[in-house]
Amino acid sequence: MQNPISSISNFKKFLKKILLPYFLLSVLIGFVFNLFFEKNIILGSYSSGAYKINRIINSNNKNEIAFFGSSRAERSFIPDSLVKDGFNYGMVGTAADVLMFCLREECKKKNKTVPIVFAFDLNGLNYGVGDISNFLYNSDYPPIRKLLGTDYKYIYNVPFLKYYGHFEIYTKYYLNNIISLTKLNNKGGAIEKNELTKANFDELVKLRLAGNTEFHNDPKLLADFLNIVDENKNRKFILVAPPYHRSVFAGFTNLNKAEEFLNSLKLHKNIVVLDFSQLPYPDKYFFDTSHLNLAGAVEFNHLLRDSLAHYIN
């Protein structure tokens, strides 16, 4: 049986031989890995949300036409098919609050007068920051902290550890960027190459028909948007509503409200509304009921290019 003195000396030995080397080695490896991962993987993929957020904050290319929005933007806009110098900032799972953040960041760029294009979802103005991994690299940027609100955690201040649970998503974007196995990548646009089976697609249509789609207008977000528009009269805001599968409209409870909303925006001089939401595209152009597939996106971009040409030199 040990005595208390040997217990203390054992603890000192444990600190010296195990805990201290463990912490030192962990910090060292963590620091090196963090540097490598951030530089090469997170910022090495044009289509990742983290890269896009970093780009919208830091890049200042005055000729770049920015395309904003959710996954419907990411999967609908192929920048090289649409404009000479464009970038698709669409991010999966994000809603209007992230769009407002992006618009505000874009409008901060001095000497930039080119139009801004953004995709509009018929479910209206809602809140949703999407995947938190999009914001971790720039988590110390005050507007990001404000955007995340209560979702902000203290761990986001700790390098390397803040990425716990998110390494997969960064790697996924990075690999997609390199090998384009499941997506076609073009300047931030990531168009789905995969196809669902017919049974799977029919199941989604059935679900869509059974559920209700609803337009929702958040007054605070709308006021925010109109403020941005009014404060930046030198910029044109082009709102594009990409096509939906027809099943979406069968279950839409207040489509008239969405149409009224779009018509009200048209009254603003520097807002252009291009509504393609009800284009009668066949099933073969859709990945699911809200997103186009590669063939659909190519077809849609032909059409959109001509429309945008009126507003973009």
């Binding site: 040990q2 217990s7 030995k13 031989k17 195990i18 080695l25 890995f33 716990y164 390494f167 996924k172």
Partner: protein
């Protein structure tokens, strides 16, 4: 409080430090208070259930020991068992029995007047109830002296590392340890940390990642094909093993750090070459519990039935084992399937041994392992499914023999990288070797650093519940 949460890390550091700082005489108070806090983190009011059974069993133990009349001893034992099983019956089986009663009365066009209870199952109820019953049974059989220190007895039932999911300890193993002085030992600390690390790796990296694939498939079985369904069935077998044995490792590691030895709960069960071997290696603390307190008494009492006593004993034991896991017919089906397999193995032992001798050893071992793993995986379809309908759909998907290579069907929603990482986590798990007590300090440090990085980089930040918590 989950072992795989940041709160537990703080809890572990504070409790373990205080444990070694405080004088020996008050350590039991610290451990008991910590255990209460740990349990109350889930649903505070349920501590009263534990208090009730602890109170009953504490006095039952003393009365059984003091009483010389065999009949009275039995009455005290029965009172204790009724209290424990009664709590289980109310919280775990009441609604299940009532549901079945409604079904039967409905069959005769009658209305079941008994109302349903709107209650949550207390976490780990089956585990601590069985541990408590083990105490009174051991005292009754005269193999264990009654514990007269109420605090130590309460700690025996509530010791936080094994409170909610075992191992289901025996009083002979753990009670004496609570009376011993524990000093800080670098060997215990090393072994404890290594066990915690490998347990967390199994849970966060392997089980949770496999679970992602399994959950996607079970949630959307209509869109799966035969390949993805077979993969999910095998993945679930590994998931449940890593999830549960991961928990046991963390429990044993946490206890070991403070100098307490909990029993080994898993001994590489997925390498078993027969179902009976599987049950000697899987959830050892429960299978030995059933063996000691249910199966053996049944077989001994019915020994005049010959081989039939074993068959009967197996059937009853696994029927109850199924029910122990969950109040649903799918768990009962799982238990009965295992009893059938064990009966088959028992009745054909000699024949199989003769055939085995004619086949090359390697081939015999390989086929035995493959059949066992396939059987165990098949039975787990019932374990994982929330209804017979779902289990039937999974089996039908396998039997459709649809081997299309559609990427969405194969990789499911999360895509190919998730599937690649799933295989990578399995591969890494196979490579990892936990250092033993003879390994040097540097080997231990390297192991801990490697596991830490694998968890951070490959782990799922889900803080998901352990599967066995629901039992």
């Amino acid at each position: 409080m989950l072992f795989n949460s940041i709160e537990f890390l703080y809890f572990f550091i504070v409790v373990t430090t205080l444990f070694f700082v405080l004088p020996y005489k008050v350590r039991w108070i610290l451990l008991l208070a910590a255990s209460c806090f740990f349990y109350m983190f889930f649903k505070p009011v349920y501590i009263l259930i534990l208090a009730f059974t602890i109170f009953i069993d504490y006095f039952a133990g003393i009365f059984i020991e003091q009483e010389e009349d065999r009949k009275k001893k039995k009455i005290y034992l029965i009172a204790s068992l009724v209290a424990n099983i009664g709590v289980l019956a109310i919280f775990k089986y009441y609604n299940f029995l009532n549901f079945n009663l409604t079904f039967v009365t409905g069959f005769f066009h009658l209305r079941n007047p008994i109302p349903y209870l709107n209650i949550l199952l207390p976490i780990g109820l089956s585990f601590h109830t069985f541990q408590a019953m083990s105490y009174t049974l051991e005292v009754y059989y005269g193999r264990q002296k009654a514990e007269h220190h109420f605090g130590i007895y309460a700690l025996y039932v509530m010791f936080y590392p094994q409170l909610v999911a075992g191992p289901i300890e025996r009083p002979q193993n753990i009670l004496p340890q609570f009376h011993q002085k524990q000093h800080f030992s670098i060997e215990n600390a090393q072994l404890g940390l290594n066990l915690i690390a490998i347990g967390l790796f199994k849970k966060i990296v392997v089980a949770d990642r496999l679970g992602l694939y399994v959950d996607q498939l079970y949630a959307n079985i209509n869109n799966a094909n035969s390949i993805s369904t077979v993969l999910a069935v095998i993945f679930y077998t590994i998931q449940i093993y890593c999830d549960f044995s991961g928990y046991s490792d963390i429990a044993r590691g946490t206890a070991k750090f403070m100098g307490f030895d909990l029993m080994l709960n898993f001994n590489f069960p997925l390498l078993s070459k027969s179902v009976s071997e599987y049950w000697r290696r899987w959830h050892i603390s429960l299978s030995t519990w059933f063996n000691d307190y249910l199966y053996t008494p049944i077989v001994i009492n019915r020994r005049d039935w010959g081989k039939l006593s074993v068959v009967f004993g197996l059937f009853i034991t696994f029927l109850i084992s199924g029910l122990w896991h969950g109040a649903a017919w799918t768990f009962i089906a799982w238990g009965i399937l295992h009893s059938i397999a064990l009966t088959y193995e028992f009745l054909t032992r000699k024949t199989r041994s003769k055939i085995g001798k004619k086949v090359p050893v390697f081939l015999n071992n390989f086929l035995s392992w493959l059949f066992t793993l396939s059987f165990v995986s098949f039975t787990l379809i019932f374990f994982r499914s929330d209804s017979f309908g779902k289990a039937q759909m999974v089996i039908q998907k396998i039997l459709h023999f649809n081997f299309s290579l559609n990427l969405v069907q194969l990789c499911l929603e999360k895509g190919p990288l998730n599937l690649i990482l799933t295989f990578l986590s399995l591969f890494l798990w196979g490579l990892i070797k936990v250092p033993d007590k003879n390994s040097g300090y540097s080997r231990n440090v390297l192991f801990l650093v490697t596991i830490t990085f694998l968890i951070i980089i490959l782990g799922r930040n889900a803080e998901s519940n352990f599967i066995y918590f629901q039992f």
